[in-house]
Structure formats: structure tokens, C-alpha cells
Symmetry: C2
Subunit: 215 residues, 2 copies
């Protein structure tokens, strides 16, 4: 039984898991659920993941794992080579903090169901929704840029010269930003690291447009 | 040099770290930053944490750690006993997923700066803000309740009969919920686990009202 990833081409959290699977050289099947058509709410999928969210990863022993931060830590423990976390405890704390800046402070505020809630609850129009998206990116990308440009640990990637989980989160977020025309020139270090990710096949193969369900 | 926690009595992410420090029997100093008065934006604190957010933990070697998920994983690695993660890889994935449901899907949508943004951007009144808060709690507490009540792994706590990081997140969220009158009777398993946490001195000592800066 191979690994099976339940995801959606445009889902930024699914993209994170695809990058990690690719980077670790793991074969996986993709089952896609079209979020805008509500395919993640079908009875069949609720059997796999009762929360009805993507991504979910079904392991080779048939266990369903949910929540991308937990899936990524599981991948790191089950398939430690090549690593996506540094070998030292302080480095791991730094990488996890950089990842959490994006995973806990940007993405949760900007995913589809939240943007929809702004429209239905507050009558937000498309411009106001786009402004909201850009606001929360900026609130965290500004200090992230400062930190990446100041810290001695930053290298070709967020932490040294090989990718870590921090790059996985950064890459997915920068791709997501394009949908709302987030300015990128004010984040030279972030964009330099994004470009380094793009040169890695593991990252590029995970892009939304390279998925079987891409539109 | 002892551990120093920069926090705020009412901050639910600071509360998570306090619980873990207490549970592991670690001595720590608290430096408090009054968020409503903007004390986390002072020059002195920006020197400690350029992002100007709490919590931040300064380690015994003088390194500043930020982002509660990263701080909690660091505490687990640096001070593994007593553990807040299960010994098996599948259990760890389950605990981290339960924690991420709260840490990535509820708290980010409901913290002070987001609620303030709803007021300034969309003219939301207090009722609309409280409704927003309760909506996102319900969106995740409903599936969390189902999962905790169905899974064989659930015990006295979220995962077995001793506390894990999942309980740390659950405890902080339930306390936070009280500020917006979130109904609790529809979550009997969550509330049973919350009550079990309350009986542990490590959890109770971390409550907002037991902090030096409590109002």
C-alpha cells in the first residue's frame, strides 16, 4: 500500500505536503477534492477525514493523518532522509518558528472559508477581501523579511543552504500570494529564497499548475 | 541564567507555554507585556522579539525562541520528562493534529488583532465580533468533539491518561472561549477533558487569573 494524499491543486496546505513528499523521494497517489465544488464534504471523504478538510495523508499502514503541520512532522520522523529539519535543537526551534509565522499567522486568516465568511458576514466586496488578504501577509512578511535578512543562520534557504520546513511554508505562501497581487519587491530576501526553491524539482513539481486536477 | 517567559496573563498562546513549563517542573521568570496598552511594541521588547508578539522564551543560554508551537516542541526536546508527546510516531501525529486544529484553525482567527481588524475594516460591532469568535470555535470544536468522543486513543485526556500538547491547546482555548460566552454543553468530551486538566496543578497554575499581571 503506497501513500495516498487527499488534496486539491490550489490548496496551499496540500502544496506543503506535496513538496515534502517529493523532497523525500516518496511515491504517492493523489486523490483530489474540488473545494469550490464542495467535493471535500462528500460522505466518502468524510469517512477518510471527518473534518472534511484537505490535506489528509493515508499512510502505508492505512492510518489517516490530518493537519499539514502534523503530517509534515510525521514525514520527518518516518522518513528522516533527506531531512527538512536541522540537526540541532536550536535550529529546529528557529525553523519551526519561521514555519509557524506563516502557518499560524497568515494562512489561517486567508483561506477560502475565511474569505467567504467576510463576504457573507460583513458584505465585503472583492476589493475588501483582497485588501484583507494582503494586510495579513504584510503583517507577517515584513518581520519575516527582517528576520531572514538579519539572521546569520539564513543561507541560500531560510536556514542554511538546504531546504527546511520553513522553505516549504514560504514557498506555498508566495504562490498563494499571487492570486491577490501581493507586492513582492519589498521582500527581497523572501523572494530570493523562493527563487532558490523554484530551482528544486521537489518544489516545482508541487506547484498547483503541475497537479492532475489543475484547471 | 533561568528561563524567562515574555507573555501576558490573558494571552492564550502564553498560557500554553506556561502550562508546559509548569508540567515539566521548570522554574521561569515572567516578564509581562500589556497587549492592550501596546507594551509589546516597545523598543526594549522589539530587541527581544522583533515581531513584537508574545510569547517569547529566553532560554538558559540566552537564545530567544518565538511562536508557541516552536517553543513547545523545543521544550519537549530540551526537557523530555515528563513527556507532552506520546512515545509512538502515530500517537505523536494524532496529538499534533489535535493541537493544530486549535492552533491553526481557531486561535489565529480570534486573537485581539484580528477582532480589532474586523471593527476597523468592516465596522463590526461587539455582537458581530462575538459571533465571529463563536463561529470559528464551533467550526472546529464540533469535529474535535466527534473525534475525541469516537477515537479509541482518547482517555482521561485527549490522548491516553496523561496530558499531551493537545490538552495544552484545548485547555487554553476553553479558557479563552469564556470571554465570548461560547456554549460548552454541546462539547461534553472536550469539557470532560478540560475538567481533568483543571485538576492538574500545572494547568491550574497557568490560568490567567493566577499570573502576576492579572487584572
Amino acid at each position: 500500500m503506497a501513500l495516498t494524499l487527499h488534496g486539491y491543486f490550489r490548496s496551499s496546505t496540500s502544496l506543503r505536503v506535496r513538496v515534502a513528499l517529493n523532497y523525500k523521494g516518496l511515491a504517492y497517489e493523489q486523490v483530489t477534492h474540488h473545494l469550490r465544488k464542495g467535493e471535500h464534504r462528500t460522505v466518502d471523504y468524510l469517512d477518510v477525514n471527518p473534518q472534511g478538510l484537505v490535506p489528509a495523508l493515508v499512510t502505508d499502514t492505512g492510518v489517516t493523518l490530518t493537519q499539514s503541520p502534523a503530517i509534515l512532522e510525521w514525514l520527518e520522523e518516518a522518513h528522516p532522509e533527506p531531512p527538512l529539519l536541522p540537526g540541532d535543537i536550536q535550529g529546529r526551534a528557529r525553523v519551526r518558528a519561521l514555519a509557524a509565522m506563516i502557518g499560524c499567522e497568515i494562512h489561517p486568516l486567508n483561506n477560502l472559508r475565511v474569505l467567504n465568511a467576510l463576504k457573507t458576514r460583513f458584505d465585503a466586496d472583492d476589493d475588501a477581501v483582497a485588501e484583507w488578504f494582503r494586510h495579513w501577509v504584510g503583517e507577517t512578511f515584513a518581520p519575516l523579511e527582517r528576520r531572514l535578512s538579519n539572521d546569520a543562520e539564513t543561507g541560500r534557504f531560510c536556514h542554511g543552504d538546504t531546504p527546511t520546513l520553513a522553505d516549504v511554508y514560504l514557498y506555498a505562501q508566495v504562490i498563494n500570494n499571487r492570486r491577490f497581487a501581493v507586492p513582492s519587491e519589498v521582500y527581497p530576501t523572501i523572494m530570493r529564497i523562493f527563487a532558490a526553491c523554484e530551482e528544486s524539482e521537489a518544489f516545482a513539481a508541487a506547484r498547483p499548475e503541475n497537479q492532475p486536477d489543475a484547471e
